[in-house]
């Protein structure tokens, strides 16, 4: 049982407070690893960035911070994808949509924070002036409030996921059919957001951000703060997900993945289980999108392109489905490779990505984590 390897001595039975259950979700090694990760992100990286002179080998550049911050957002998306795919057995090829929706929701706030510092010195965002709009569309109402933006970051993906998921799961759409429909969904949304009339800046999207919470967005301190927030969000997501998959809910979820009809015949309604994890996954993507946009400084409809969503699935497959650390490793491995490739051999990146997917599917069905476990067990076998 899950309690056996926990940090705290939990009673095996009876009522256990939820906070203690969160502690029990990770074993001691995992908590230590998480602590080291947070110490690096919250203390070591800021010190190396601010205190160490740029010519030192130990200096961490602003470029590196933005890159790692961006990849941590991707890792968060990958964990969200793993919850629905690795544990729920439902392959979504439209998770880029939820990521972009979160990004757009927060982007609206960032656009309003520009104030009159845009090219046209207007209260309206530049693209609206350019389109000769005289006032904000109704759905921009309240977008100058950080609290409302933070709410929308989670609420918009949640509502879209709930409505879509309810009808899809109720109709018992499964497997490749579900994947194709999610792919179509994100593509349709991309076309919608490409239109100027939609009110989200058309194909340019949102960019040229100046401030967030009234502080300059490109200042080193702001950058580090966003970096730290992303690290905290990733860590919190990992703990939350660990609790989720180790709860009875998680066991029902994997049971649905393995034998859905048996789950129904013992009295669970898979619809609500799938819908719950689907909405949770979408909300996590929305949060990742909101952290991503201020760090990279742009959000546009290309984030909704089908290729982006497929890439998310590749991160998870490379890292290892059905483990929580796998998607994080996969997101880092693939994206670090991508940033190296796109500088050194830009024209070969897509070939490499395709090759990677084939190799992982054929040779490493459990991803890098599976490979690591195999090596460990072989070593132990050799010693025995």
């Amino acid at each position: 049982m899950s309690a056996t390897s926990s940090v705290l001595p939990l009673p095996a039975t009876g009522r256990v407070p939820l906070t203690l259950r969160f502690f029990a979700a990770l074993d001691r090694k995992a908590w230590i690893a998480l602590g080291i990760f947070l110490a690096l992100a919250l203390i070591v990286v800021p010190v190396l960035n601010l205190m160490v002179p740029p010519d030192s080998v130990f200096h961490v550049s602003a470029y590196a911070i933005t890159l790692i911050g961006k990849i941590m957002c991707y890792a968060l998306v990958a964990v969200a994808m793993d919850l629905i795919w690795g544990y729920g057995g439902i392959l979504s090829l439209g998770h880029g949509l939820f990521f972009a929706l979160g990004g757009y929701a927060f982007g609206m706030y960032l656009m309003r924070q520009i104030g009159r510092d845009g090219s046209y010195q207007s209260d309206l965002p530049d693209f609206m002036v350019f389109l000769d709009w005289k006032e904000l569309p109704w759905f921009w109402l309240g977008s100058d409030s950080f609290g409302w933006a933070a709410f929308l970051v989670m609420a918009v993906p949640a509502v879209v996921a709930f409505v879509f998921g309810y009808f899809a799961f109720r109709s018992r759409i499964k497997g490749v059919y579900f994947s194709i429909i999610t792919q179509a969904l994100t593509y349709a949304a991309m076309l919608l957001f490409f239109r100027n009339e939609t009110g989200f800046g058309g194909n340019n999207g949102f960019t040229d951000f100046k401030r967030v919470l009234d502080v300059p967005i490109t200042a080193p301190e702001t950058r580090l703060m966003l970096f730290a927030l992303t690290a905290i969000a990733l860590a919190a997501t990992l703990v939350f997900s660990a609790w989720l998959v180790k709860s009875k809910f998680g066991r029902v979820l994997t049971a649905i993945r393995d034998a859905e009809s048996r789950v129904m015949f013992i009295g669970y309604n898979p619809l609500w289980y799938k819908l719950t994890i689907w909405v949770i996954s979408a909300v996590l993507c929305g949060i990742a999108g909101a952290l991503y946009v201020p760090q990279v400084g742009i959000i546009n409809p290309s984030e909704m392109s089908p290729a982006n969503s497929i890439e998310i699935a590749i991160w998870v497959a490379v890292g290892g489905r059905g483990t929580l650390i796998g998607p994080v490793i996969g997101a880092f491995a693939v994206n670090l490779a991508k940033s190296w490739f796109t500088v050194s051999f830009p024209e070969y990146w897509l070939f490499f990505l395709g090759l990677l997917f084939i190799v992982v599917t054929l040779l490493l069905p459990q991803g890098l984590v599976g490979l690591w476990k195999k090596i460990i067990s072989k070593k132990q076998g050799a010693q025995a």
Partner: protein, 276 residues
């Protein structure tokens, strides 16, 4: 005597009676001694009638065996009872009040019907213990599952069932590693954890050794009385050991009914089994 009973007594009653008596989520009412009542059930797939005006009643506490050649409609009948297949026409009632044709699979499980599949269907990635835990009768909504934590009583119940199905030494093994016979037992154990009133068992002893088969028969006989059991089986030694009434299905309807010796000597039954 409530409206529902009237409806059962007068199956051709008008629409108003049907609506009056329509209790979808009623409590299980076995007061009239009938646990399961199928009437004129017809199911066709592309013109082929898998069930053809099937009428069948199972009494509360009864142990009934269903036999019949391949394609007689045994599995389709179970699909209708558990909500997997909707009949084209006919009635299916659980007790006096529960209309099975209106409920979904989880709802039917919830009112007290458990099903064992022909091929053992268990959660192979989960441990034996977890398989039983998931099957255990409890509130099975999402929020309750998120907050669920086993009580001492729960553990005792799981331990009891583990002993009953003789898997107490395998509790922490992944269920996928069990032998075929053990998987069959685990699935039966999962049924028991649901505490159903009616158990549907589709070829429960397929792939078991003779010894396991006889132990299963003893278990089923001990369950009868408290539960109603419907067992589909080809193994005549097993059917004989169970005792009780035997129903022979053929081409989607009941061909003969009686104790095993009677149906085995029935001329029509002999023709169906041997005449091909």
């Amino acid at each position: 005597m409530n409206a529902q009973t009237i409806r059962l007594d007068q199956p051709d009653g008008g629409d108003s009676a049907t609506q009056l008596g329509h209790v979808v989520t009623g409590e299980l009412d076995l007061s009239h001694g009938v646990a399961l009542y199928l009437e004129d059930i017809t199911v066709s797939f592309d013109g082929f009638k898998a069930l053809n005006n099937l009428t069948l009643a199972i009494n509360a506490g009864e142990l009934r065996c269903i036999i019949g050649p391949n394609g007689a409609g045994k599995t389709t009948m179970m699909d209708v009872i558990t909500g997997k297949t909707r009949p084209d026409s006919g009635k299916a009632f659980f007790g006096q009040t529960i209309d099975l044709t209106r409920l979904t699979e989880p709802e039917i499980a919830h009112v007290g019907i458990g099903r064992k599949f022909q091929k053992p269907t268990i959660f192979e990635q989960h441990t034996v213990f977890e398989n039983l835990e998931l099957a255990m009768k409890t509130d099975k909504r999402v929020w309750k599952s998120l907050m669920a934590w086993l009580t001492g009583d729960d553990r005792d119940r799981i331990a009891d069932t583990l002993r009953t199905i003789r898997l107490d030494h395998e509790a922490d093994r992944p269920a996928g590693l069990l032998s075929h016979g053990q998987k069959q037992w685990l699935e039966i154990g999962m049924l028991l954890m649901q505490e159903p009133k009616l158990l549907l068992l589709d070829e429960p002893v397929a792939g078991m050794t003779d010894d396991e088969t006889m132990r299963t028969a003893e278990l089923f006989v001990s369950l009868a009385g408290k539960h109603s059991l419907v067992v589909v089986e080809h193994d005549m030694a097993f059917v004989e050991k169970l005792g009780g009434l035997v129903t022979v299905l053929h081409e989607g309807s009941v061909l003969a009914e009686g104790d095993l010796a009677t149906v085995q000597n029935d001329q029509r039954v002999i023709e169906v089994y041997l005449g091909r």
